[in-house]
């Protein structure tokens, strides 16, 4: 038995914020972003995305494992996945857990799902990614806020009687030495809520503090340009694919300029390469599944047997692999 993606859906908050028409917007290509309302949580978006998938025909009672990727949980404990099992009306015989990853999270989720399915521990895995980074970002940090949008995706991975794998050549990487380049310092056990606020204002009047997301953009782009081309080499070699044999490249949709530099650095200028951040911004772990769903809708007649995905970001953490989307029935 092999694990295949059978369905994809995504949900975005109703509220849309327009980015200012300025230098940053021109560079990032992000025109607007969906932003969760006060009290609208990642778990709420998760429910919407999953219900959308169910409404397309997926039978929720079949799900025997729920994976939930978020860095915006409802509580420190219990795991939000357990709350979702109840809210979504999933079977009590369904395993469920959260895992905390950002932009690499979707590729990891596929790896976990494949592991559970191909070792016979599960037949139908529901992988949900959901994030509300807007709640982590200081409202007056105008260098970071325009980059990130909120959203969620729900992906159904099922056990299929096939010889060839539907998820393969996964390669993972981690470099915790770069952890401080993308961090929310306060709120865990290291710096619990209540510690003194440390606020900085830069020359452009952007305010950041230790209670909100702190990102060193130059370090993150440098890291991405280093690990993505290298991991792509491993993935292609492992999958025994030449660059031109790949049907589509769908990398983490960070922003237009990062995607363009990666395309250049990876030598992917003449192949199908998805770059669409205009309406969403960087939705963290949901950016790849959202892009996959849009790409599938835009290419209904294309045979998408070898699609390369690549996620990279907070951790620092990265992961990539090859997926077969020819068995997607619910979109």
């Amino acid at each position: 038995m092999k694990a295949y993606i059978s369905g994809l859906a995504y949900a975005l908050p109703e509220h849309v914020e327009e980015n200012e028409k300025n230098r940053l917007t021109k560079k990032t290509g992000i025109l607007r972003r969906h932003i969760a309302a006060e009290g609208e949580l990642a778990s709420d978006l998760a429910v919407q995305a999953a219900e959308k998938l169910f409404s397309k025909g997926l039978d929720r009672s079949k799900i025997d494992f729920l994976l939930f990727c978020t860095e915006s949980p409802d509580y420190i404990l219990p795991p939000t996945a357990c709350l979702l099992q109840h809210r979504l009306g999933l079977s009590r015989n369904c395993g469920a857990f959260d895992y905390n990853l950002g932009c690499s999270g979707f590729a990891y989720g596929l790896g976990i799902a494949k592991g559970f399915i191909e070792s016979g521990q599960a037949k139908n895995v529901l992988l949900i990614t959901a994030e509300t980074y807007s709640k982590h970002i200081h409202p007056q940090d105008h260098s970071t806020a325009p980059l990130f949008g909120d959203g969620a995706s729900a992906v159904w991975i099922e056990s299929v009687d096939e010889e060839d794998p539907g998820i393969r050549a996964l390669h993972y990487g981690t470099d915790g030495s770069g952890a401080e380049n993308l961090i929310v310092p306060v709120g865990g056990m290291r710096n619990p809520y209540g510690v003194a606020k440390e606020e900085t204002t830069d020359q452009y009047n952007n305010i950041r503090d230790n209670y909100h997301l702190q990102m060193v953009g130059s370090a993150i782009s440098e890291f991405s340009l280093e690990v993505v081309p290298q991991t792509l080499q491993y993935v292609l070699a492992d999958a025994e694919l030449a660059k031109a044999e790949v049907d589509y490249y769908v990398f983490h949709q960070a922003n237009n300029f990062m995607l363009k530099y990666l395309q250049q650095k990876c030598d992917l200028l003449d192949v199908p390469y998805w770059n669409d951040v205009e309406e969403y911004g960087n939705t963290v772990s949901s950016s790849i599944p959202i892009a996959l769903a849009d790409m599938l809708k835009a290419n209904p007649d294309k045979h998408l047997q070898n699609v390369v995905i690549m996620g990279f970001g907070v951790g620092l953490s990265w992961a990539g692999g090859v997926i077969d989307l020819t068995k997607v029935k619910y979109l």
Binding site: R23, K26, D202, G217, S218, A219, S221, E222, L225, F257
Partner: protein, 71 residues
Amino acid sequence: MEQKFIEELTETIDTEDKLAMDTVLADLEDWDSLSFVSFISMANASYGKKVAADQVREAVTVADLYQLVKG
């Protein structure tokens, strides 16, 4: 080579100012944190050079940036 670099830099930092090798970066309104990040990415993607943020910070003129990527 220098001309190509200047064209690429103009595009990278998205400026309407006319750049020359002796242009002082601090005089450019568009030499901001965004340009900074973009330059490091451009050096890496176009020239295969890993340029450290400190090296870019120390650069005074366009020629100093060119030194970081050439050869």
